[in-house]
């Protein structure tokens, strides 16, 4: 398979995933998009192996490695900070470390997280994931430029 055909396939798979996501929301079945997403990624990984043109070697592996490491170095701090906030929310329940709520009856925080609240966490996780992707792409571009990915010379078409 040619590289451009692969990129076209990535676009098509992404569109299908968006469609399945909305279908999943409509029928209220999260498993649909979860399974579809995993299958989509497996399909793309499998097809990527069939690309004829060589795309990876020791230099690209090093660029990927450095970008991933830098991303991890920053992301874990952000992720840990968010997780600490979540832990505070969890421990703020009446059954947690905090003493019973001193206010009038009925004003104490609920024992269970409500569904919309959990949904908010899901969106927050998505936002964190987007942050990770942006960080990775940014570092990938930086190191690719540093190690001559877009350099040209007289042999360039």
């Amino acid at each position: 398979m040619k590289r451009n055909t692969f990129y076209l396939l990535v676009g098509i798979v992404a569109l299908i995933e968006v469609g399945i996501f909305w279908l999943s929301v409509e029928v209220e079945r999260p498993i649909l998009i979860q399974v579809a997403f995993v299958l989509g990624v497996i399909l793309l990984y499998a097809v990527r192996r069939t690309i004829e043109e060589r795309m990876e070697d020791e230099r690209t592996a090093m660029i990927t490695q450095k970008a991933a490491l830098r991303t991890l170095e920053i992301f874990w701090v952000a992720f840990f900070a968010i997780s600490l906030g979540s832990a505070v929310v969890a421990f703020s329940r009446p059954l947690g470390l905090r003493p019973p709520h001193p206010g009038p009856p009925g004003t104490a925080p609920p024992d269970m997280l409500e569904l919309p609240f959990i949904g908010g966490f899901a969106l927050f996780q998505m936002a964190l994931l987007c942050l990770m992707i942006f960080l990775y792409v940014g570092f990938r571009v930086y190191y690719a430029r540093k190690y001559g990915d877009w350099d040209t010379d007289e042999e360039q078409d």
Partner: protein, 69 residues
């Protein structure tokens, strides 16, 4: 670290693409090595030297050797 890959490529009448295919790397990697933006692994350095039938020191010039050559 400087290198003389471009010279040896010219001597063997090879393009970057051709050399890259022979060595199993991308053309951009050969270009990056030639421009001094990327230092190859020891394995790739040996592959390059063996491909041209010379020693690593003939192709890669480290530190003071750059001035002596």
């Amino acid at each position: 670290m400087k290198n003389r890959i471009k010279v040896y490529r010219a001597m063997h009448d090879l393009t970057q693409e051709g050399l890259a295919n022979e060595l199993g790397v991308t053309r951009q990697t050969i270009l990056a090595i030639e421009k001094g933006k990327y230092d190859p692994s020891l394995e790739l350095a040996f592959k390059i030297a063996r491909f041209f039938g010379v020693t690593i020191e003939d192709i890669f010039l480290y530190g003071d050797a750059t001035e002596r050559k």
